[in-house]
Symmetry: D2
C-alpha cells in the first residue's frame, strides 16, 4: 500500500520499452538525437504550440528553478503560493539559480493563490531601488494541496501578472493530472491563459526521470539552453530522456496514467467520506489529505501502508496520500478496509 | 564507424538489465533505496574507502562543479590544466556553482599539469585580500589529451597542493580507462595519492547517465548533499541511478568495458602508426589525436566515419577519435583500411 | 523641520574636523593607516572586546549583508523580523551577498521578534536536504518600529538561536540610540547577550558614511576581509573612514548625539500625547509613528515639515518622524505647534 | 617621498571645501540631492553626453564590477588584458557581481590589449552551449603598465568588439591622466570610440572616495541602480559623493591634478633616463616601472622613499613609482638624487 508519493512509483512498461528501443547505435549526444526531436514535436503538438522551445532536464527542481531564473532577475521577487514546492521543498533552488531572487509567498485556500493576495502583492512590490522588484509569478497545477486551477483561474492570475508586466511560470510536476481533472486542453491551461513557461512534469506521472521546460515565446529558449548546460543539466545521452517523453505522449499514455491516478484518489476520497473521514482539501487530482482519528496512522502502517504525516486538528491525525499510475484498486480497498 | 565520443555509445545489456530489475515496487525516493545503498557499498569496496561518502548525480558537469564548490570558496582559484573540461567545456559551471571562483589554467604537455607550473601558481596565488586565494586543485584522469596520470604523478601534484593546504579533486569522467591504463588500484589513483574528492565517471564508460561523487573525508559529504538538492541534482527515483552503478561495478564490468575501449584505441594507434600517421599525444587510454594528410577526413566521413576535427600542423588535418565499450574490431579495421 | 530620516542629517563638526586632520600626508591605503587602527582600538574598548575584529565599510547595507554572508551558508535561512531592513529595504542584498540564502520573516509586536515565533521557526527549519537549513538570526536594535531590545531581550533571542547552533547578527544602524535608550553597556547588548557579529552604525548617528562590522570571535574576521574586498567595499583611502569613527567614539560623542536624538523624540512624543495623538509604537529611541487626523500631513508639509507617510487606521493618517543629532528644539516645538 | 600609489594621496583643498559646503541642511538622501544632480550635469558636459546616466559609488572595484555585471551575462566571458586590475587585483569582484562570468585574459605589450589577440579571442569564444559566450570587453586607460590608449587605439579595439555584438567597458580609474596624456577629448576616448560604459575615476585623481559609472545608452542605467543598491553601494548621504565630483570637475580641476601628476612622472622619467635607468614600459601618464641596479631599492627606502617592488631582469631590481596631484618637485628631485 504505497501512498507516499507518485515519485516512488516504478516506470510503466511503455517507458521501459522506449528506453530499450532507444538503446541502439550511436546518435549524436546532448539532445541532438532523433528521440529528443520526436519528443519536442509531440510536446508541441500536445500544447498546440508549434513554435515553443522544449528542453529536457532530469528533475522538477531543475525545471522550475532554471525556468524561473530565465524569467526573474536577481533583484526580482517570485510571487508564489506560501506552500509552493519552489518555496518550501527545494532547499533554495530558485534563489540559487536566479542569483538571489526573493520568493514572495502568497496566501490562498487549498493551495491556490488568492487573486486578491496576488493583486495586493503586485501593487506593493517594486517601486524604489530599495525594494525587490516585481519578478515573476509561478503557479503550481496540480497544487500542493491536491487541488487544480481551472483554465479560467489560471487566466485570472496570469492576467493580473501580465498586466503588471510580470511573466508567468507554471510548475506542472503533475500537469497531466491537472489536464485530466479540469478537462481543459493543455493549451487552455498554459499559453492561452497567459503562461510563458511550463515545467511539464513526466517523472511523477510515470517517467524514470525527465521533465520538459517549454517556453511559448521561442526567443526565451536560448538563455535556457545556456543556463541548463552551465548548471550541469544537459545530459550527454539525451536520447534516453527523449525516449521517455515519446513513450509518455504517444497514444496519450500520459493522460491514461493521470486518469488512473486521479480515479484511484477519487475512490479513496469516496471511501474515506463513507467512513466519516474529513479531508483538509477537496480531492481533485491524485493527492488526499485525510484527518482521521488518532491511532489510525500507526494501525495503517502496521498493516503495511506507507504515507506521510501531516498536521491535523487536535485529537486527529493528518496524512497525505498520493496515488499514481501503478496504484491498484486492491491497495485502495485494503487501505479503506483498515480505517 | 562511431568515434565521435564515448558519450554517444549505447548502454551495455547489463545496465539495461539492472534498470529492468530495479523497476519493481515503490522503494523510498531521493536515494534512500536499496540500489543506491548497494551502489555505495560497491564503490566503497572498489575504492577501499569504507568511510567515504557517495552521492550520485546524472552528469559529469554536475559532479565536477558541485564537488569543486564544496572544496573552493567563492574567492578561491581552481588550479586546473589549461584544457581541462571544467575550464573549457562546461559553460562556466564551476564559476556558477562556486558563486564566482576563478579558474586558473596551468600549462603541461599532453594534458597533464606540469608540476613546476603548479608549484609556481601555488606560490603566486593568494596573499593579500586583493587577490583570489588558493582554492582547490583539479586533475583529470584520463586527461583531455587521452593520456593518464600514474599514481606517482597524481601524488606529486596532489602533494604540492596539500602542502599548501589546497584540497584536491579528480575529474574521473574516464576513471575506469585510467585504472586499466595505469594498472594502479583505484585507491592508489585517488586517496592514497592525496585526492580528496573524486568524480567517478560512469556515463562515458557505459551507463545511461550517472556519475558518483566521492568524498574520502566523510565530514565533507553533508554539504554536498545540500548543494546537490539545491542545484536540482537529487533525482527522485534514485534507484535507477543506483542500479546503473551496481551493474557497472558488479563482476568488475566497468573494468572490462574500459579495457575493451583502451584495446580498441591501441589497435587504432598501432594501425595508424603502421600507416605513418602521427599522433598529437601518446595513446594511453581510449582517445587518439591523429594528424593525417589533408583530404583524409572528408574521405573517411564519406565512408561513414564520425569524429571531431582538431587543429593540426600545416598541410595536415587533425581529428579526435574516441573508442568505447561498443566499438567493434570491424569498425577499427574499416577505418584503418580507409587511410 | 527635517524628520524624514537620520540619514538626511549633516555631519557634526567633530567629524568634519577629524576628516581635515586626517587629510595630511600619504599613509598606507586600504585600511593600513593609523586612523583605522585607532578606530579599531576605540571600538574594541567601547565594546570591551579586545580580541574582536573590526572592519569598516561605507554603508549599512554592506555591513549587514556582508556580515550575514559570513554567518549563513547559501542554503541557510536568515531569521529576521518581518519588517527588518535586511528583508524589506535592501533590494535583496542579503540574498545577493550570501549567494541565495532565504530570509525567514518572523512576527513580533513593535518591531521586536517574538521569542515564541523564533522558537517555532527554529524548530520548523532544516531537517532534510529538501529544506532550507537553519542559517543565522539577525536582530535590529533600535528596531524598525523605533523600539529597543533590552540586554535581557537580546539574550533571550540569541540564546534560542545559539541553542540551535545558529549564529547571531545585530543590525545596529542605530546602535548608539539603543545604548542610550536601554542604559545597557555595548557589551551587554552584544557579545554578553550572545551576539556574534555587530553592524555598528555610524552614519545615522552623524558620520558622513561609515559603518563598522565587528566579529567577537576573531576567527571569523578574515573571511569578512575577503568578502569585503571582493564586493568592492574596501575603500582605498581608508583613513577617512577611520577618522569618522575616531571622532565619533572619542569623548563619547556618539552617545551625546544619540542622547540628543532620543531626547528630541521624547519631546515630540510628549507633545503629541498632550495633543491627543496616538502612536503606533512606544517611543524608546529616535523614531515616532504618530497617527493623526486626516489632513494633518498636508498641513504640516505646507508649513515645511518633511517626513514619510505610513499606514494608519481609517480616518487617520500615519507618519514616521525621525530625529537626529541636528534636530533642534525649535523644530520640535514648531512641528507640535502645527498639530 | 611617497610613490606607492595615487590612492595614498590626501585630498586637494577644493574637495575638502566642497565637503564643507555640502555639510549644510538636510537634503534628500540616496543621491536625490542637489550636489549629485550638479555632479551628473557636469560629468555629462565633460563627456558631451547629455543623455548618459551617471551613478556614483565609493570605490573603483564597485564601479568596474557593477558595470561589467550590467554588460556581461553570468555565462559570458569578459575580454581583458592579462594584467587588468579587474583580473588580478579585485579578489574576483567581477566574478562575484556577474554571478560567475569568466575573465578571459589577453596578451598585449605594455598593458594594452593587442588587437590581434582580441580578434582571435572573439573568434574563438562562444559557439555551442558548452562554452562560455562572448560577454564584454573591458579596457583600462591609463593601463596597468602606465601607458595610454589613444582614441584611435580605443576605437580599433572597441570596433572589433562591437562588430561581434560585444559591449565595451572602460576602466578609467586614471581617466583624467589618460585625457591629459592623449590630448583627446573625454568623448573621443569613450563613446565616440565605441565605449558603452565608463568607470570615471576620481579617487586616484584626488577625491576622498568616489567613482562615477556612466552608461552612454541611458536604457542601461536602471539596472545599474538596482545592482548598486543590492550591492550596498548606494550611499545614504549621497551629497558628499556628489560634492567631490563637483569640486573635481568645476574649473577643470581634475585635469590640472592629472597634468601635475603626469608632469611629475615625466620629470622622474627624464631624470632616470639621465641616470641610465631603463624603464619596463614607456612613461605616458603617472606610473613608472624602473629597472635599477640591485641594492638601489633598499637605499631609497632607507632614505624614506615608499614604492612597490616589481619583477626585473637578473641583477636588477624592479619598482613601481606612482605620482599624483600632491607629488612635489622636491620629492622627485630627492628621489633622483639618491639614484
Amino acid at each position: 500500500m504505497h501512498f507516499a508519493s507518485d515519485n516512488t512509483a516504478p516506470v510503466p512498461p511503455a517507458v521501459m520499452a522506449a528506453l530499450m528501443a532507444a538503446n541502439d547505435g550511436c546518435p549524436p549526444s546532448y539532445g541532438a538525437d532523433g528521440w529528443t526531436a520526436r519528443a519536442t514535436d509531440l510536446l508541441r503538438d500536445v500544447l498546440q504550440a508549434p513554435q515553443a522551445t522544449v528542453h529536457l532536464v532530469a528533475t522538477g527542481t531543475a525545471a522550475n528553478a532554471l525556468a524561473l531564473a530565465c524569467l526573474c532577475p536577481p533583484w526580482g521577487g517570485v510571487f508564489c503560493h506560501a506552500h509552493a514546492h519552489v518555496h518550501e521543498d527545494e532547499c533554495g533552488a530558485p534563489e540559487f539559480f536566479s542569483a538571489g531572487a526573493k520568493l514572495l509567498p502568497l496566501a490562498g485556500d487549498h493551495g491556490r493563490i488568492a487573486p486578491g493576495a496576488l493583486a495586493a502583492a503586485l501593487a506593493a512590490t517594486g517601486g524604489s531601488v530599495h525594494n525587490v522588484q516585481k519578478g515573476a509569478l509561478t503557479l503550481t497545477n496540480v497544487t500542493e494541496a491536491g487541488t487544480v486551477y481551472s483554465a479560467a483561474q489560471t487566466a485570472e492570475l496570469a492576467g493580473l501578472a501580465r498586466a503588471a508586466a510580470v511573466p508567468v511560470h507554471l510548475d506542472g510536476a503533475r500537469f497531466g493530472n491537472a489536464v485530466v481533472a479540469t478537462g481543459a486542453t493543455p493549451a487552455d491551461l498554459t499559453w492561452r491563459a497567459g503562461v510563458d513557461a511550463l515545467s511539464f512534469g513526466a517523472t511523477k506521472l510515470g517517467a524514470m526521470g525527465v521533465e520538459a521546460v517549454v517556453f511559448f515565446d521561442p526567443a526565451r529558449g536560448h538563455e535556457f539552453a545556456l543556463r541548463r548546460k552551465r548548471a550541469g543539466h544537459l545530459l550527454s545521452k539525451g536520447r534516453y530522456l527523449g525516449a521517455q517523453i515519446v513513450a509518455m505522449l504517444e497514444q496519450d499514455r500520459w493522460l491514461g496514467w493521470a486518469a488512473h491516478a486521479n480515479a484511484m484518489a477519487a475512490s479513496l476520497a469516496q471511501g474515506l467520506a463513507a467512513r466519516g473521514v474529513a479531508l483538509a482539501h477537496p480531492v481533485q487530482a491524485n493527492i488526499l489529505f485525510p484527518h482521521w482519528p488518532a491511532g489510525t496512522s500507526a494501525r495503517l502502517r502496521a498493516a503495511g501502508a506507507i504515507f506521510y504525516d501531516m498536521p491535523a486538528p487536535a485529537g486527529m491525525e493528518g496524512a497525505r496520500l498520493v496515488t499514481h499510475w501503478a496504484t491498484t484498486e486492491s491497495d485502495v480497498a485494503r487501505l479503506l478496509s483498515l480505517i
